[in-house]
Symmetry: C2
Subunit: 211 residues, 2 copies
DNA sequence: GTTTCAGTCAAACGTTCGTTTTAATCAAAC
DNA sequence: GTTTGATTAAAACGAACGTTTGACTGAAAC
């Protein structure tokens, strides 16, 4: 058996409940109940509720960061100056690829990410490591070469737009399933992915705003 | 004196604290302390913490909705088929105009809006009225005429993108002031407004994604 | 002068929270 | 068979929460 099966079952339960109810809206008791574990197991395996959230966050975000990094490496191996479309796809694509078992097309995971990223509490945002900043800086440099004439400030603004569009769209669909345009399954996620790439490529390629 | 000065002071305090710490992260005691009022005043004037949030939400969102509606009316009075740029500006502009006294360029109000919109709790999202859906449907129809060939589903996706970009950008700046590109004040907000219009006009005008 | 009533106040209610403590469990090591 | 060390279990901890209560206030109404 894996090192302490309860540990991963708690991670799974916390993953789901944090996404559905937020960090403060989820009690440790609710997590251990869903995981079929004892209340004290969270303290034993993770130390505290905040450290449990950090573990959940790392488990879901690290693969995305790795995929974004690998995608950029793949592009740069071909040409030193990739096209905007390719950069957009390499950066935003991994956000659509996360879909663990039981996740409705990755929407629940997206909900978890937004929950973590948008929570104002310090303890919720303090899980982050240096890897996230590194990959963002690398894409920033690549986009800067693909879009000469764009001021660094406006470029940063546009990169924030990429994250906003990819994350928020799927969150809304998750919260209000009536918004789901297509039947659930692989089809819906794939359509949203293509829409996002179209939308964001056009947005990123816009001429610079006059200062 | 206005009808119960404590009432508006509680509204102001709740506005600030909900934006800074979220709904669940803000205790009624913290609100009444900041407002200089008694703990029971919230129950007396609003009924409950959830109803206080609803009052705060209505107070901040209603002017935005009215401005969006008026802007569309103004455009439609000139021509039945406004350009995409004008529609983007009329829709996204009011989100940049909200800056009550003490708000750092409207960033705190944006934070409040995102807090309300992204909170998973039912009681937080249940403040909404029919006015919000109405104005969105009107813009949807106007964008549909300006962008023929776009499927209704992709059009809805793009409209969600508008909200995502305008809201999320300013939230991030609010949470991490180090991201602020320009010196604070009227200049920073105005630059972001122009960047957003450029970004979103290009995105909305993109040719339809092949099905 | 008395009544009235919206508003304020201190105090307490019962509940839920995250965390800690202490004892029980159980397979592997010796 | 006993010891060991990691894991689980039950119970309790103090603190913080939203809400309610009942007394108090002070100016207007009569």
């Amino acid at each position: 058996m894996a090192p302490s099966d309860t540990r991963t079952q708690i991670l799974d339960a916390a993953d789901r409940l944090f996404a559905e109810r937020g960090y403060r809206g989820t009690s440790v008791r609710a997590i251990t109940d869903l995981a079929g574990a004892n209340l004290a197991a969270v303290g034993y395996h993770f130390g505290s509720k905040a450290q449990l959230l950090a573990a959940v966050a790392r488990r879901v975000i690290e693969p995305i960061n790795a995929a974004q990094c690998a995608g950029l490496d793949r592009l740069l191996a071909r040409t030193p100056d990739p096209a905007v479309t390719d950069l957009v796809e390499a950066f935003a694509g991994p956000l659509f690829d996360v879909m663990p078992a039981g996740d409705e097309g990755g929407a629940r995971t997206s909900r978890l990410i937004v929950t973590i990223l948008s929570d104002p509490a310090e303890e919720v945002r303090s899980w982050t490591g240096p890897a996230e900043d590194t990959v963002r800086e690398r894409y920033l440099a690549a986009f800067g070469r693909a879009l000469p004439g764009l001021s660094p400030e406006e470029l940063r603004f546009r990169m924030r737009g990429i994250l906003a569009v990819t994350a928020v769209d799927r969150v809304e669909v998750y919260q209000r399933p009536s918004l789901a345009c297509l039947s659930p399954g692989a089809g819906a996620g794939e359509a949203a992915r293509q829409w996002a790439i179209t939308f964001l490529t056009a947005a990123m390629s816009a001429p610079p705003t006059g200062t």
